[in-house]
Every structure is written in C-alpha cells, then in structure tokens.
Symmetry: none
Subunit: 231 residues, 4 copies
DNA sequence: GATGAATGAGCATTCATTCAT
DNA sequence: GATGAATGAATGCTCATTCAT
C-alpha cells in the first residue's frame, strides 16, 4: 500500500517520505489513533528508521505541524503580495489559502483539527501560527481603514475580534469546501470577501450594528448612521 | 476525587453523573486519551457500571455528543425566538450561543474539537447538528432579505457558503472568547453582528465585492454598485 | 511452566505469588534480562495484573528487594538474640544468615548480586540494609572488647573496616556455600568464626600486624606485642 | 564526547580504544543497560567497526572481562613476589590489589559486579579467575603454616573456605574503599591483614573457635587450647 | 444495583546486528 | 579501513472490556 520500496535513500529524502506518510496518517486517523507502525509502513520503511530520524511520535507530529504550517503560511504570504491595496491583498491571500487547503487536505486536517486537540504542546504550536495570521489580517483591516481615509475608531480588542472572526470564517469555509465537491478556491474567497469586506466597510464608515439594551428589549435598533439597510 | 460516593442511586441519576464525568474528561483529554478508568473514578462509580449503563467507550462518547448537542441547540433555540425580526433573532441566538459555550467549555470542546477529530461516526453526528444550525442561519439570511423587500438574487450555494462562514466565525469567536478572559457573550455577539450583518446587508442590496479577472489583473475592482466603500 | 492457574484469588495472595515469581526470575536472569512477560507467566497471571498490583518493573524489583531484605534481616535478628555474649551472638547470627541464604538462593542473588548492579536507586536500598548489618557487627566487635575488659583503642574507621571485612567475608562464603554442594550453614559459620574471631581477639589485645615502611622494605615486621605467630 | 576522532589507526590501537570505552560503559551502566551505540560513540568509531573487530556484544564483554582480569591478576602477581615470606607476600599482594581496584574502578566493577550478574558464561569466566586467586591465597596460608613449622591439620575444604573468606573480605573492602573517600590501599590492606592474619595464626596454632553443640546450648565454648581470648 | 479480579490485544520505543558502499 | 542506511525482534506498559460474585 505504501510507497514503492526503494532502498538506500539519503536521509533528507527518507525524512520527507516519512513526513508525507505521517501527515497523511495523522490527518486521517488523528494523533492518537495513528500508529507508528502504520506510518512506517506507509512510508515504506521500518519503524526503527522512523525513530532514528524523527525521534518519537511527539517529535514526528511536531515536525508535521511545523512543515505544514510553514507550507501554508508561505503559500498565503506568496499570494498576498505587499504592494497591492488591502482588499486585493486579502483576496489573493484568501485565494492562496483556499487553494492550499484544498490541495493539502491532510496537512490542513493536521493543522486545523488534530494539532488543536491533542495536548497543550501542539495546541501552542498552532496558536502561534494562528496568532501570526490573525495579526496579519488585523493589519490588513487597519490598512483598509487608512486607505479609505477613515478612522476606524475601534478599540484594539474589537479589531482583534473581527480578525478572529474573519480567520475563523475562512477556516470553516476551507473545511466546507473540502467536504463539498465542486467548490473552488475562488468561490470560497469570493464568498468570504462578500461576507466580510462590506461589513468591514460599514464598520469603517462608522455604521455599527447596535445591540438592544437587553434581551427583552423591543425598542429601535439596527445599523446606526446608515440608511437602514437590512433588518 | 470525583463526585461524593453515594450508594444506590436511581439509574437516571447515575447516568447523568457518568455523562458529566465523561464530558469533562473527553473535553479536557480528548477522546482517545481519556480512559474509562478516569471517567469511572471521576463519576464515583466502578468501571463495570459504566459499561452496564453506557455499553462502550464509543457509545459513551456518542451519548456525550448527543447530550451536549441537544443542550446547545436548545439553548440557541430558546434564545432566538421566532417572532422577532431576523437580525434580532440572530443577535439573541448568538448571545445564547456564546453564553452557553462559555458556561460549558468542556461540552463545547467535545462538540467542536473532539467529535470532529475522532472518526467518521462522531464527525457525522456533529455534521448533522451543524447542518441544522447552518440551515437555520440560512433561513435567517433569506428572511432578512425578505424583510428588506429585496431579492437576494443569490444562488443557493452562495447563501449556504455565507451561512457556513457565519457559523464558522461564531465558532472561532467562541473559542477565542473561552481563551481570552474578560470577553463577554454580548461582546462576542456584537462583534459578529457588526462583522457579518452589514456585509450581508450590502450583499442583499446587490453590492458585491467583485474578484479581479485573475491573480495578476491590475484592473478595476471593488464593491460594485456601492459608493466605493473600504478599499 | 508456572504455578497452577487458579482463578480469582484475593489481591494479597496474588501479590505474594507475583513476588515469588519475580524474585526467582530476577535472581536467575538479572533485573534487565528478566522480562515482565516471563514473570507474569511464572506467576500464573496476565501481565496487566502484575502492573495493576505492582505498578512497574522498577517498583516490582524494589518490592522484591524490600521483601527479601526484610526476610533476611529478620532471620538474622531472630538468630542473634541480645542476651548472649558477643561471640555467641555473632555465631548464631551467622548461622541464621547462612541458613537463610542457602534456603533462599534467589532472594540472596537479588540482594547481593542484582540489586547492586542495576541502578543507583536499588543500590541505595541495599546499601541501607547492609549499613544496618555492618553497624550491628560493629557493635558486636566493641561489645566483645568490653566483655574481654580491653580497650580496643581503635579508630572508628578501623572498626568499620573490620566490620566491612567480616560482612564481606560472610557474603563471599554464602555465595561459595551456595555454589559448593555439601557445605552446611554451621560449617560456613564455623569457618568464619575461626577466621575472624581470633584475629579480632589479637587486635583487641593490642597485637597488630604492622605493615612494613614501604613496599621495598625488607626490615622487621609481623605481629607486634605477640609471640611471633604465623610468619 | 569520547576520544578525539582520529582516522586510520592500526587495528590494535582501535581495539584498545573500544575496550576502554566498553569497560567504562559496562562498568557504569551494566552489561544490559550499556548500548553498543554508546560504546561506539565513546570509542569515537562507528558501530560496524566495533562489530568488525569485536564480533558481538557478548564477545566484547568477554574481551573486557579477560583484559581486566589479566590486568588485575598481573598487578597482584607483580606485587606479591615469590621470594618473600608468606605474610609479606600477602601484604604486598593485597596492597597491589587495592591499588589496582582503586585506579580502575570501572574495570573492577566489570569484574566484581557485572560479570557475575549477567549469565553463566561470564560468571564462569570470572569464577575461573577467582579460583586462581583463591588457590594462590590457599597456597600462601599453607606456606605460612610451613614457615611457622606447624601442621595446620586442617581439612582441604576448611582451608579453601578460609581463602574464600579472605578473598571475599578483600573484595568487600575494595568496594568499600572505592565508595569511601580517603581510604588508601595501604589502609585497606592493613585492615585486612589485622583482621585475617592473626586469626589464621591462631588457627595454625591449633586454637579454634568451637561452635556450641547446638543453638540452644548454654555450655562452655570459645577458643580451645588458647588463652581465652575475646569471648 | 454494584464491584474486585482478570485479560487479549495493541502501542511506543529500543537494541543488537547487518548491508552496500 | 570505515560508515551511513536499515531492520527483526523484543520489551515495558496501557486500555477497553468482561466475569464471578
């Protein structure tokens, strides 16, 4: 079932084969359910070699996380080139993101599902990468405000929350796209741009959605300062 | 260390104690790392009793998923009462959602993290619940369009994608709120309403964000039919 | 090969069976070469039960050491009753010692050979027991001096060294007796009494063997203050 | 961390480096806990070379035992030169023995601790060396008797037992000296001479310690034919 | 209703040993 | 002469699960 058994490869090559097998197995079975036996077999090597090169299951998983995280962030960074206006950066970054997650579903599963569910150590690894992305998106939001010559006038935490929401929405769409045949990366990106960007635009323009005073309030509410869109 | 050891309880009560212990253990350790020993001890009963009542680890986990899913959906449903306008329904549903996930972090971890990562069976269970919620949100979006007397003129899948994005953003915010001390349910809900609702409003009004023809395109793009918001 | 397979025994009984099997296996194979599989089989139980009761290989070995050390020291203590004169105490203590080591060769191997060779932890355990015995012998030597109304006039360390030598000789004789068919405990004890006690008597009487000034010295040497015994 | 990595050494030199590393590793870790990896690394060579030269772990250990046994017996033999009177021979032999064991603690550990605890083969190897030493000491005892113009009138086995006891005492003192800082070889040797030699002298003179008829005997006992020393 | 006693099966890890170069 | 690459075979340990009472 595994790769064709080729003997005597240089270490670097074997390591990549092992990581390939590990990402696939971890992505599909989960960290704990994946056995080193299965990984070794899929990689076409014996178990001791896996330990010789990757040290332990934990280290192997960490190596997977790091490799996949690096690949993902580099893909996104390569997509969102700094020269463009903020919305174009976001668009192309998202497209790169959805393209990458679609092409590497196991790697995405490792990052998004498995790494967060199997121990603080791995979760911390992921949290760091994710924080980086959220920070990047936060910068894009603020840049967009500047480009529109508007003062967002939003507290730090509010902007963070928006970025969190945007990233979370992207993650959910990536899962959804991977599970729904026929959805392209461009479509996912367009959906998210439509969903998020206009909302952000309104926010930048000072049009908030104001919550009612309390849960039983029946009074006036809605978008302030706007023209009464939606509800 | 678990519940006070009380003998001879009626079955229904014992079962709830076991489920409490199981949700807590599964939520914190994960499905595979949680041992039946630990759960039984935390529940204050012997292991055979757990098997007598809940049959197997798999069944026990399924029971946890079902109980927590039911509790969550009921909380949300109780929040979003049908009489209100769509945005108010969404607002109060979200508030109920964030309140519940904050109050039952282990249950939320079971649903959002663990159930999706440990086998098709559990993932399917979750997918069903989630689909129900996405459908509900989809209806809200369409209702909002109707209330605004506008034809969304959006393909079915596009609206589904929007709902997916909204739900995904909500999930991410729930995680974020649970991990960030001081964030209230109302704040999370407000952030999400601001983020999403205006964007949806624009969409309903026919103002899309149009993607460039391709990645290297330098031509005109942006929100069509609008007043040039944001970028 | 193991004990007759009897089902459902109370824990205390099973534990002793396991310790019996472990002492035998550790004594014959050594700590590292002994496998938990072998011990479990010899005890007539499954491996998990060994772990359930004894926790780990290390703990099992420690339990063996403690049990055997206790049995040995109690046997010696029971032999050397305090009321007797010092030489009689030593005689009966030694007899008890050789009797016990002959009857429990595996236990003796665990204590004398295995425990000292497999890690600081075990060695420390043994060292404590041994120190106790050496201290006991030291007291006997001093008591003998008092009984003979003589001032040993020996430095603390010198007496300790003598006690160490006596205990070491006893240990070697125990090994030798176990390996040489037909040697009884009484014979071993008599040999050691003859070997050691008179020498101690001379020492107490102030008759030392004086070392030459240096290795190449050809001058006078021998037992001082005595009648020129031996050489 | 091991020897400086020098390429292309003649075989004999390499082998000694390997044996050095092996003795150190076996002495400190024990036979089983020592890994060929560690030994090879400490020797500064690759593992296959160790196998090329020394064949197997067992052979390597045997080679260690032989080399260290030879070194020890040669050191002792060089110390105890045949021309001297018996007590001087014993004294200088013991001094050489304690000097050597103090200078080569790992070698001593291999011989005294490890080789006896890891399988019949190694134990037999050691037993042979030890028998040689015991025989040598036996000869010394008999020589001493002749020198004193006395007929030991002791059965063969009794003398062997005495020699065993003396050798065992020496071994215990070697361990004790290695574990107790500040004890010199001369001190150890003097302690043992004092302990043993006078006792032997008494024995030669026909003064035995006579065991009581049985353990509950309260009758007369003690050194017969002597002046009532000690007891 | 409840549990102490017990296990089959599996898993991460290690080690002595050998090729192919 | 010397080594990087590779593995078969154990071994300690854990876990879900089940009897017998």
């Amino acid at each position: 079932m595994g790769a064709v058994k080729t003997k005597r490869m240089p270490r670097a090559v074997r390591e990549q084969q092992m990581l390939d097998a590990a990402v696939r197995t971890f992505g599909q079975r989960g960290y704990m359910a994946a056995s080193m036996d299965e990984i070794a077999e899929l990689a076409g090597v014996s178990k001791p070699l896996v330990y010789l090169y990757l040290n332990s299951k934990e280290d192997l998983f960490t190596a997977c996380i790091r490799r996949e995280a690096k690949a993902l962030t580099e893909a996104v960074r390569a997509g969102a080139r700094p020269g463009l206006p903020a919305d174009r950066q976001l668009w192309s970054g998202l497209t790169a993101f959805f393209t990458h997650t679609a092409r590497h579903p196991d790697g995405w599963a490792v990052l998004h599902l498995q790494a967060r569910t199997h121990g603080e150590v791995f979760a911390a690894e992921i949290a760091a990468v994710r924080a980086e992305i959220v920070a990047f998106v936060t910068q894009l939001i603020l840049a967009a405000a500047r480009e529109a010559h508007r003062d967002p006038d939003l507290p730090e935490r509010e902007v963070s929350g928006l970025a969190e929401a945007l990233v979370g929405a992207a993650e959910a769409l990536a899962d959804w796209a991977n599970a729904t045949p026929g959805v392209t990366a461009r479509q996912s990106a367009a959906t998210l741009m439509n969903f998020a960007w206009a909302g952000l635009g309104d926010l930048m323009a000072g049009r908030h959605w104001t919550p009612p005073d309390d849960d039983t309030d029946g009074g006036i509410h809605g978008i302030h300062g706007g023209t009464g869109q939606v509800g």
